[in-house]
Symmetry: C2
Subunit: 267 residues, 2 copies
């Protein structure tokens, strides 16, 4: 008997309201990444939280490098989850890799989505001719090599760089912990799948109103990338947050919560 998507993805529905906000976590975290946003959002809306397969308390047996060799598989998982829960017109908030996952899902089944919020998302991480992604080939190869040779050492070095809040060492510590909770082979494969992805050509097909939320000094997503997203998604606007690092929902939790609430409330 097939496992239900809601089980596979360790799904949790909290709060109540006419609108459902879906919070989709990024690489190296799980649904607990939204702990700072959850109370305020659930006080006004229904909130759906889940773990991508391979992360948190998802069904790890469902993970295979072959199936999850592209972000499209995660997008399919998301659509199956929304289908099972009969959800339509959701406000989808996707952090990091979940940004493009939401874009792909919303192109596939637009009726499921009313609005998208892309937080620290990128359609391509690798630089290209006329495109600043933030990483060069040798950067990425060096990254994979470090992950492979000692995953935990890599995690404790990467976490402070990604969180980029020198005055808040707790953020780096917390992120190092959720990174280290990944099974190393899965961590490496998800990193590869994400960093090697290129979804620039998908962007023009997205018809859902989209808010691109972009942080500053984000090692994974230079400001140019946020600008690129806003330029190529037909109904997008860009908001550069007064926050640094790749996890603004941790470093500037109230600002992110307020952006979500106000974009959800906008006509």
């Amino acid at each position: 008997m097939a496992i239900r998507p809601s089980q596979r993805n360790n799904t949790r529905l909290v709060g109540a309201g006419d609108t459902t906000i879906v919070l989709a976590h990024g690489f190296g975290t799980d649904q607990t990444a939204w702990r700072n946003q959850e109370p305020a959002l659930a006080a006004r809306h229904r909130v759906l939280l889940f773990d991508h397969v391979g992360a948190g308390h998802s069904d790890l047996s469902a993970y295979s490098p072959r199936r999850y060799g592209s972000l499209r598989s995660y997008a399919l998982d998301l659509l199956h989850l929304l289908e099972e829960l009969t959800l339509e017109h959701v406000i989808y908030v996707g952090h990091s890799m979940s940004g493009m996952i939401g874009v792909l899902a919303a192109i596939e089944e637009p009726r499921r989505f009313r609005k998208l919020i892309l937080l620290g998302a990128s359609p391509r991480y690798l630089d290209d001719e006329g495109y600043v992604g933030g990483f060069k080939r040798e950067d990425l190869d060096g990254l994979y090599e470090a992950m492979q040779s000692n995953f935990h050492a890599w995690a404790s070095g990467f976490a402070p760089i990604a969180t980029a809040n020198p005055d808040k060492p707790d953020l780096a510590r917390d992120f190092a912990q959720t990174l280290a909770a990944l099974r190393p082979d899965i961590g490496l494969h998800v990193a590869r799948t994400t960093f090697e992805s290129d979804h620039r050509r998908d962007l023009p097909a997205l018809q859902i109103p989209t808010l691109v939320l972009q942080s500053q000094a984000d090692i994974a997503v230079p400001v140019e990338v946020g600008a690129y997203l806003a330029r190529h998604i037909p109904r997008a606007e860009l908001q550069v947050l007064d926050a640094t690092g790749h996890l603004p929902h941790w470093s500037a939790p109230e600002r992110v919560t307020n952006e979500i609430l106000s974009f959800a409330a906008s006509p």
Copy 2:
């Protein structure tokens, strides 16, 4: 008998040529920070290296929080050093806090300087109305608190954030080491002096041709700051380097060397 500036600042002159390039290190490093640039620069030019008082092998007994309570004192040290060595028309390269030190010195005695290169420099680190500096009051207070409570723990957390090259963990390790080599009380005081400085109003008085070299994803210097410098220094141009982090001379050594050589050679 007064100690000579060249002794006090552990000065070293290498290479030969009609032009002297002065390499001034930033916070948390010393003259060894230029090890990647030194050979190529010294092959064509005379190169002056030194340690600011409080750093490297400078005369630590010359340090006092009172004297070094402002970047102007470092600028005076620099002018005394150039005077002792009878140097004029130098190409000055200042990293981080040494950027503004060079600006202040070149305003005071323009004849000593032919060109300035400001690498990851900032006239003000704290945000202000209509000005993005990158840090908020509480960020800086949190930073000082962390430095004070455990300087070495702070150094090992700050280093990867500042270097921001997840694929090159050696950079973070090296920077953590030079940070940890600081006497903690001096380290904290220099950090305060730098981060609390505001030299925006000095910029228009600088008459020397200036190259602003700016990295990406630099936690201490957002791209806006480089743009601000270029806008407010009368004869400045901005070059955003294809490099991340606050130490581009470490993470993209050849690119930085080439920029210095080509700016030195330009008419």
